[in-house]
């Protein structure tokens, strides 16, 4: 019905539209960016504080997400149990939930009297604090890490783990010395994705940590606050910082690609 050339043109139209849409958004943000004042704005105390807080909270959230998500992913990949489908779906849920709603749930839990009392006794301040921002980011980012880890370990040929066992490695050693390094490229991609998600997290952070300048003001919160108060220049600079971060993350993910040991065809040197 259609030759390859026609098919190429048919596919080119939606591709072009998609590119146009994205370029349009970027152009819209560029036109409004006050280029002459960008450097000054970047150096402003508020932007520096927002950037620092974003890096700190997203970094901490990524570490926690990895600590939770990697073992959880391994567990789900390697075990069959009653209710697995339910647990599996439940862990994925925050990825499909509106972050605002997830944050609202977290806010209600943290506001509950017994939880508040326990946190007070332990001296942990989560609500309206940077720690709350970390928790909100973990809630949204950890399922990504779990999902990625699960896929990575499920794709790993289990016989490598069996071979390691016959070599005298205990299950913990098998995980650390064999499974984890073999799954490393995918896990690294997951980690980068997880961090990017934490950097851009807004809804849940707003609910739990609030939007207080210089205290819980991450870059997305800074965009929101400055848009609300009419400081368009500041909002745009923050927005561009987020966009550049996202672009950098995608580049890194493509660069991570395949590890050295999986590269190229085997070099035959003779038996």
């Amino acid at each position: 019905m259609s030759d390859p050339k026609t098919m190429r043109y048919i596919c080119l139209v939606p591709t072009g539209l998609l590119v146009l849409l994205i370029v349009g958004v970027l152009a819209g943000l560029s036109i409004q960016l006050p280029l002459s004042r960008t450097l000054d704005t970047l150096a402003s105390a508020e932007i520096r504080s927002a950037l620092r807080l974003t890096l700190l909270t997203s970094g901490a959230a990524t570490i926690v997400a990895v600590i939770l998500g990697v073992p959880a992913g391994y567990f789900l990949a390697r075990n069959a149990f009653r209710g697995k489908l339910f647990i599996d779906t439940l862990i994925d849920l925050p990825m499909t939930m509106t972050p605002l709603v997830a944050g609202m749930g977290l806010l209600f839990v943290l506001s509950h009297e017994s939880v508040r009392h326990t946190l007070d006794v332990l001296g942990i301040e989560l609500l309206l604090s940077p720690y709350g921002a970390i928790l909100a980011q973990v809630l949204i980012a950890a399922p990504i890490m779990t999902r990625t880890s699960r896929s990575a370990f499920a794709a790993l040929d289990r016989r490598y783990e069996q071979a390691a066992q016959t070599l005298g490695l205990r299950p913990r050693q098998v995980f650390i010395r064999i499974s984890l390094p073999m799954a490393r490229p995918v896990l690294l991609s997951g980690m980068v994705l997880c961090w990017a998600r934490a950097v851009g997290e807004f809804g849940a952070t707003l609910m739990v940590a609030g939007a207080t300048r210089f205290r819980t003001e991450t870059l997305p919160i800074a965009v929101y606050l400055n848009m609300s108060s009419g400081e368009l220049g500041l909002a745009l600079v923050c927005a561009w910082l987020l966009i550049m971060t996202g672009f950098g993350v995608l580049l890194v993910m493509r660069w991570i690609g395949s590890p050295l040991w999986a590269d190229g065809p085997p070099e035959r040197i003779g038996a």
Partner: protein, 225 residues
């Protein structure tokens, strides 16, 4: 030196397998695909649940997990760890041995020299030929200081010349180390070349072949299906 004794082993296709392999013997298990040969090796290594009992030198090892059995297992696909060099593949296999760093390095060098793979020490599996991988995998299996060596059709993917050369080398190493070995194959010629004693496996049952080796029948087993 370890004697292996299996009593009424049942697992998946296996049906009441009884077998004794005396110390230092190379026992070849011959049979068509799907007969249960690999399953039996997995059972001995502790990788599959089973019924019956397994003894090493009279000690029952049924309760020992795979990492405690000290079984050198050469898988059909070799399963060299792709993210590790040959040297590190061997080092991983020695992780459980109580040796100093220096002793480990010496042992690795000795093993690699014995199998002629010293030049491959820093190569990754993807950078090696089939025969080189076989040698590296055999070195790794031996690096664990195993009581029993289990070999699951390790030369099946090689051309006949390389396979023949490696069989001769294997036989030589097995003789020198006097390590009790079970070698699984469906290749009649391979079985004749290697076996001290031979068993035939079909549909999960183990039957004796006339022994000693000189009395092997000339007809190869038929492949199933």
């Amino acid at each position: 030196m370890t004697e292996l004794r299996l009593e009424k082993i049942g697992a998946r296709v296996l049906k009441e397998i009884d077998l004794t392999v005396p110390e230092g013997e190379l026992f070849v298990l011959l049979g068509p695909s799907g007969a249960g040969k690999s399953t039996l090796l997995q059972v001995i290594a502790g990788l599959l649940a089973y019924e019956g009992r397994i003894f090493f030198n009279g000690d029952c090892i049924d309760r020992q997990p795979p990492h405690q059995r000290r079984v050198g297992y050469l898988f059909q696909d070799l399963l060299l760890f792709p993210h590790l060099t040959v040297r590190n593949n061997l080092l991983v296999a020695m992780a459980h041995l109580k040796l100093s760093r220096r002793e480990r390095q010496e042992r690795i060098r000795e093993l690699m020299a014995r199998l002629g793979i010293i030049p491959l020490a820093e190569r990754y599996p993807v950078q090696m030929s089939g025969g080189e991988k076989q040698r590296a995998a055999l070195a790794r299996a031996l690096a664990t200081d195993p009581r029993i060596l289990l070999l699951d059709e390790p030369f099946s993917s090689l051309d006949s010349e390389s396979a023949g050369r490696l069989r001769a080398e294997l036989k030589m190493h097995q003789r020198r180390l006097k390590i009790t070995t079970i070698f699984v194959t469906h290749n009649w010629k391979e079985a004749r070349q290697l076996a001290d004693r031979l068993g035939a496996m079909n549909a999960g049952r183990l039957t004796d072949y006339p022994n000693p080796v000189s009395e092997f029948p000339k007809m190869p087993l038929q492949r199933r299906g």
